[in-house]
Amino acid sequence: MNRKGEEKIISVYWFFILVIVAGGILLMVNAFYNDPYDVREIEASILSEKIADCISLSGKMNPDLISSTGIFKEEFKDNFLKRCSLNFDSGEKWTEIQYYAEINFYKYNYPTKNVFNISKGNQNWKADCDLDSKKYKKLVVCNEKEFYSVDDAGTIYVVKILSMVRKAEQNV
């Protein structure tokens, strides 16, 4: 028997296996670390929470938004970003605004009738919210939030918040 010849063949074969394993690990690690962290889902969720805190204080409608007689104030709508301490400017890197926020108010007894609406930011990508965000990662990430709030007169409102974050180039 030629044991030395057999060992040589085995070591060449083993070396070949090691190269394949190392190459596989290299490719997987590169694929993993070259993919940036996608934080848009959390970012959109924080945006919704922040808007909710601004609209409703401990379950009561913000008195700056609605009068004691139940009339929504246009001034709040016009200065929504300032009123809610938001800044949708994403720096020089972006030519377009990368955020969008929309708040719809419905009376509890008439859940289909929109009584007031506020929207700010770039609404061009709003239609993309209906698409599967897992499949279309390069599009926007949307977050929807819904809660109840009561005004000074005791009227209950359903508040629906839609928040959108794009920033695809930095997250995908």
Partner: protein, 110 residues
């Protein structure tokens, strides 16, 4: 040879995980998200020892690692690198290092 192979692979994986660009990317976003949730009057203390280790290795002054300009967070761990991420919370933020920590003081925005 097998042992050497395993050691090389483990060292490679560790080096990849603590790479400057990976840390810049993740920390700039984490800091931006932290600032998004912050409220005026808060003082936030973040342990950034991972960044300090890499910046020391790359001879970057730890004072220059994290910068806040308007509503942009910039994390820089190499001379030519750096990652920027914006936050939407309209607050004024000042930050400074304290050993391996960074202190962020939040006040009302303009």
């Amino acid at each position: 040879m097998n042992l050497a192979f395993v050691v090389i692979i483990v060292l490679f994986l560790l080096k990849q995980g603590s790479g400057a660009s990976v840390l810049e990317n993740s920390y700039s976003k984490q800091i931006a998200l932290t600032l998004d949730s912050a409220k005026p009057g808060m003082i936030i203390k973040l342990n950034l020892i991972d960044l300090k280790e890499v910046s020391d290795k790359n001879k970057i002054n730890f004072n220059d690692v994290v910068k806040i300009e308007n509503n942009l967070v910039k994390v820089k761990l190499t001379e030519k690198g750096g990652q920027t991420y914006s936050f939407f919370n309209n607050v004024s933020v000042k930050c400074y290092p304290d050993n391996e920590f960074y202190i962020f003081t939040i006040s009302e925005g303009a």
